[in-house]
């Protein structure tokens, strides 16, 4: 591949992710509004929010690490997007593979955790402790799922995983071949988004929005950007693993939005779990499904 082409891809992939992510945020809000019989925000509202937050005059910093944490939270996802193939663009997906991608996706959380840590607010620290606990909860089914898929495909290369699924049409999709893993993956993915009923680390009523407690202005704006990246990454990853990725931009985006719509719709119907209940839930059903799914794969 020509270096110039690669560089263009590396620039475009995060950019696409950002735009699609913003649209996903919009979709999420619209769905919430529909369920609650509201009108919902206008199309450009997410963008307005980001611009507004970055433009605020009062920007409260709790120190260097607070700033760097936000930079890491955004930067980590920007890097992760280049490992996630989209139609026509593979970026450096072949140089990392899915395990690397999963680990790279932890960098933003680590950055956030560091940033929140320096805020010296116990609410934030408790939020992070809960977020990390939640990560321990949903990552176990998630890696089971990833193992199953990668083992079935015989590779950790996402490009090839997608290619094998596309080779035989609908029948070779991961979701058809490995339905149990797909279900487990969906649950784990939902939890990883940190939406209700799994929003234990935001919990506004208990810990004053946890990690966000000391965040304002561009700090909150950074987190907003992080969230849109997160929505994008999670749903695209799921699409790549189970729904055959995208051959064209149209079906790629369609699948991604549909996948995301499921957890988001569920999210607004449920109250919040307790931390240990989340753990118990995550370690029971998706793990069981995932392991049975792997048994079928092997």
């Amino acid at each position: 591949m020509a270096p110039l082409e690669l560089i263009i891809e590396l620039v475009l992939m995060p950019l696409v992710a950002f735009i699609v992510g913003l649209m996903m945020v919009l979709m999420m809000r619209r769905i919430a509004a529909k369920l609650q019989r509201r009108v919902g925000p206008p199309f450009f509202q997410p963008l307005y929010d980001i611009v507004k937050l970055h433009g605020k005059r009062t920007q409260v910093s709790h120190g260097m690490i607070h700033d760097i944490g936000i930079v890491m939270a955004m930067g980590g996802y920007i890097a992760a997007e280049t490992l996630l193939p989209v139609p026509g663009m593979n970026g450096i997906a072949e140089k990392g593979g899915i395990i690397t991608l999963l680990y790279l996706m932890m960098i933003p959380s680590l950055g956030l955790a560091l940033g929140v840590g320096q805020c010296a607010n116990p609410n934030g620290s408790i939020g992070i402790a809960r977020a990390l606990t939640a990560m321990l909860a949903y990552d176990i089914p998630l890696v089971i799922v990833v193992f199953g898929v990668a083992y079935a495909a015989g590779t950790t290369n996402l490009v090839e995983i997608i290619a094998t699924q596309q080779a035989g049409g609908f029948e070779t999709w991961g979701a058809v071949q490995m339905p149990l893993l797909a279900i487990a993956g969906l649950i784990a993915m939902h939890a990883s988004l940190g939406k209700q009923p799994f929003e234990i680390y935001i919990a506004p009523a208990e810990i004053a929005t946890g990690p966000m407690v000391e965040m304002g202005g561009k700090y909150l704006g950074g987190l907003f950007v992080m969230q849109s990246f997160q929505l994008y990454t999670t749903s695209v990853l799921y699409v790549s693993l189970f729904l055959g990725g995208g051959t064209t931009w149209f079906d790629f985006l369609l699948k991604s939005f549909l996948v995301l719509a499921i957890p988001v719709s569920i999210a607004y119907l449920f109250p919040r779990y307790r931390t240990e209940d989340l753990l118990r839930l995550m370690w029971k059903w998706p793990v069981m499904l995932g392991l049975i799914g792997i048994a079928f794969v092997m």
């Binding site: 930079v71 980590g76 320096q118 116990p122 990560m135």
Partner: protein
């Protein structure tokens, strides 16, 4: 007689011991010893061809004792471990020189003994690594054990108790090995490696089982493998600062070295795999792999509950050993490379972590995670080193720990071992939780009033830490550098070699190129920074200018979350910490105590002649019947 390079190295090492012994009470002794470690390292680097597939270098010293031939030589395996040993010794010793040493002396510590113990440890480790037959291996092994004991016990008090526990475990291990050696000797007729190699191929299954159990238990004890892991954390944590950095970096890896040498090279993984456990689907290799995995999980989750920074790190040291063994027993090209590479990576970040924590102790006087906090503003460089270290420990990009763990995961995936894979990942996740607690409770959160005026660690301590941090990052960026050494180790012990590049590994089933991954990561950070810093300028506020539900915070209010850090998690798994192994250890001790009491009872009897006569009668009756 001309001295070989190995002779030279051992000679320098011996000289270091002598210098520490006789000149160690003088003031600049620490620097002298450090320089001598540097010379040893140079002398080791002269043997660098070993790391790139060179021929083994023998020592001219060959002893004939009681009909046994003892010889010493260095091959790629020895060289690789010696490099880590000397590197960590050099940096730990450097770290100890200067201010740390002065403080240690003021606190009543014996600096002379410290340097001597370090020098003895290094010397004995080199002897072990150089061993050219099973007997010299055992001699080296014992020397290492007792030298380690000296270093662990020297702090007195709690440390001595921990060291006593260590030496009891170590003796159990040594005796298991001793017994194994006797069995090997009987079947091979010699303790030379060649003879053993031929003997192993003709050995019966029960015999091989016996040997595998004896040797893996014996060597495993030093690695802190389950269920022999209890001794390690207290022993390492209580060793004086730089000593614990050194021990944590390399000491228990000697067990891995011996496992590589005996179980992998001499016995062969194939032979171990052929040992099936009846009525189950698993064989001896799976058994080892599961032991490795439990060694990852349990100590890691024990670490999470520690409230002392050094204990926390020491427990993680045990857990990380599990990854090394896991990679090794999977034994395909990637897994073995991962396991071996992890030895190097672990040494670098573990030493850096212990040093950073010691720096904190040096300034604040405590490593209690509930009595620190917010130090990042006072000790930013130490924070950075600790951050680099924990990213390495947790195995996240961009640090070197990621590469080795990636290789291990990949091999488990390739070999189709889902449960082991998941278990290994659980260990990593637990590590992430635990290390966040470490960095949060020390460096983040609220700065305590009494720490408001402390200074950054002195440069004598800072420079070795920074060097280590640089190594952690560079070998994460360019894992090909250590992978080249690892590849020659793999060749030396008869394992297949992965197709490595400067930036990682090429493989048909998924490659890794860290140069690209780290490149985009930092590019991403750059863009993030651009976005972030181009927005409105932020204003730095005091830490007490904080949301507190409407209350005003003052300096005497502790506004920090540190205790029972993962409360939600502990609600669920807290009940699983039953201390079963402690209970087991205690019950063994009680059993010995009980038997001992009984035996003393026998000897306390006054009617001794009764024994005599009854024995005589019994024996004669036995003969007649």
């Amino acid at each position: 007689m001309t001295l070989t390079l190995l002779d030279e190295l051992l000679l320098f090492s011996g000289v270091t011991v002598l210098v520490a012994l006789f000149l160690g009470r003088r003031l600049p002794a620490g620097w002298m010893v450090t320089i001598l470690y540097g010379i040893q390292l140079l002398s080791l680097l002269k043997m660098a061809p070993l790391g790139y597939g060179g021929d083994p270098i023998p020592s001219t010293l060959i002893l004939e004792v009681m009909g046994q031939t003892l010889s010493w030589r260095f091959d790629a395996l020895s060289w690789y471990f010696a490099l880590i040993t000397l590197g960590s010794a050099l940096l730990s010793s450097w770290y100890a020189c200067g201010e740390w040493e002065q403080r240690f002396r003021q606190a009543g510590g014996n600096v002379w003994l410290f340097h001597l113990a370090m020098a003895l440890n290094v010397f004995s480790m080199l002897i072990l690594l150089a061993s050219g037959d099973l007997l010299s291996l055992f001699i080296g092994w014992e020397l290492v054990s007792w030298a380690g004991f000296l270093l662990m016990a020297m702090a007195g008090g709690v440390a001595t108790r921990a060291a006593m526990r260590y030496i009891t475990y170590a003796m159990v291990g040594a005796m298991a090995i001793f017994g194994g050696i006797a069995l090997v000797y009987v079947s091979a007729g010699s303790l030379q490696y060649d003879a053993i190699l031929t003997a192993v191929s003709q050995m019966g299954t029960p015999h091989l089982w016996m040997l595998v159990i004896l040797f893996s238990a014996g060597f495993g004890i030093k690695m802190g493998l389950m269920p022999f892991h209890l001794w390690q954390a207290p022993a390492y944590a209580e060793t004086p600062g730089p000593g614990s950095a050194f021990l944590g970096a390399i000491s228990s890896r000697m067990g891995l070295f011996a496992i590589l040498l005996v179980l992998v090279k001499l016995f062969g993984i194939v032979n171990i795999e052929s040992l099936k456990i009846p009525f189950t689907l698993i064989d001896a290799r799976d058994l080892l792999a599961w032991i490795a995995v439990f060694t990852i999980i349990f100590p890691t989750f024990t670490a999470m509950k520690q409230n002392d920074a050094r204990e926390l790190l020491a427990w993680h040291g045990i857990g990380q050993g599990g990854y090394m063994l896991l990679g090794l027993v999977v034994a395909d090209a990637m897994g073995a490379a991962g396991g071996l590479l992890h030895v190097f990576n672990h040494a670098t970040y573990q030493a850096a972590l212990f040093m950073a924590v010691t720096a904190v102790i040096h300034r604040t006087g405590t490593s209690d995670l509930n009595k620190l906090g917010g130090l990042v503003v006072r000790m930013p460089l130490s924070f950075m080193v600790l951050l680099v270290g924990i990213i390495g420990l947790a195995g996240l990009p961009p640090m070197n720990g990621f590469v080795s763990k990636w290789l291990v995961y990949r091999s488990l995936l390739n070999e189709g071992m889902p449960l082991l894979f998941v278990a290994a990942v659980i260990g990593t996740l637990g590590t992430i939780l635990s290390v966040y607690k470490l960095i949060h409770n020390i460096f983040l959160g609220q700065l305590r009033v009494e720490h408001e005026h402390i200074k950054e660690a002195p440069w004598s301590m800072m420079i070795p830490m920074l060097i280590l941090a640089a190594i952690i990052f560079i070998t994460g960026l360019l894992p090909g550098i250590p992978l080249a050494w690892v590849a020659s180790v793999q060749e030396a012990v008869g394992l297949s070699v992965p197709n490595y590049t400067l930036g990682g590994v090429e493989s048909a089933s998924g490659s890794l190129d860290m140069i690209w991954v780290i490149g985009v990561l930092f590019a991403g950070f750059g863009i993030g920074a651009l976005v972030f810093y181009s927005a409105g300028k932020s204003k730095r506020v005091h830490q007490l200018d904080n949301y507190a539900g409407g209350h005003f915070l003052t300096a005497d209010i502790r506004y920090q979350y540190s205790d029972n850090f993962y409360a939600g998690l502990m609600h669920l798994i807290g009940g699983w910490y039953r201390g079963s192994f402690l209970w087991l250890e205690k019950s063994v001790k009680s059993l010995v105590e009980f038997l001992s009491l009984g035996m003393q009872g026998i000897y306390r009897r006054a009617n001794a002649e009764f024994y005599l006569l009854s024995t005589a009668l019994f024996v004669i009756a036995w003969v007649v019947i």
